[in-house]
Amino acid sequence: MIQFVYDANSVARTYVYDIGTANLTQIYNYPDSLIMMPEIAPIETTSAWLSLCDEGVISSDQYQLAQILLEDDINRGKFKLVDFELQYISVARRLLERHRPIPGVRRKLKGADSVYLATAVLLAESLKPSGVRVILVTSDMALYQSALPEPNVEAFHFWTCQCPKCGRIDIPTKMKEHQCPNPKCTFACIPCCLANCKSAYVVGF
């Protein structure tokens, strides 16, 4: 059994497609699992969608469609909103203190990031006796890097892709030239974007 924890990027990309949405769709349909998020996730997602709407990148109708779909997933319990109340504060503080930036190695864990990581950590602690795996799903590199060393919590970067030529797995950077990291392989995505995406990655946990 797997308990997934989504951040706002994962929620937003479930509905507004880009690289990584194929991975999120597989997680959405993953057997014997649930998807959970703290209450801040739909709020951050709404704010980001509204910014796109204000800039004219998506229409008001598209914004409304995305909202209806998100609300529907919450109403039918597909996405579960969780609240740890005051427990968040001490855990998030500990995580912010532990995951301070290291130039060239690790990015800074920001305030909102720590809420997602705290959610995953608290769930993992509570579910530990049952053997349930807790996997934090994000495309935020700072959050991903901070989750990796946390005991009992696993992390999945949903931009993870697999080279269709040699099978090498990698995490690309969106809109940058992406060359397969296998030195013997010549496959490249120029640039890395949904229209060019040929990833063969199949999510398996």
Binding site: K80, K110, D140
Partner: protein
Amino acid sequence: MAAVRKIKAERNGDIIIPTELARLAGVMPNTEVHVVVKDEGKIELISEDAELKRASTLQEMLDVLERRGEIKLHKPQKSKRVLTEQQRQMMHRELNESLRNKSLPLEEIIEKERQERDDSVCL
């Protein structure tokens, strides 16, 4: 299990049980157990780990955590009608059709907003 029957448990909940009772119930002394009141006044004592392990689905485990007060879950609004799978697929298509060849900077917006929130707290 005579000692067990002496407990006046009127509702389900957690208690710390005394050593003798723990021995009879087969759980560790002074550990927190969950009391389940059954029919005809019979009660059942379950240790916390066992209760979680006994749950057969993830949802049942979350229900256990919620009952213990470890988490609070948002309850879906049952009065609201949910979309059919066909409606959902149609809405997904409609939402993304014109965006197919665009790369929208959603992640960058979320990252920027998080950074701005942090930066706005100036000392």
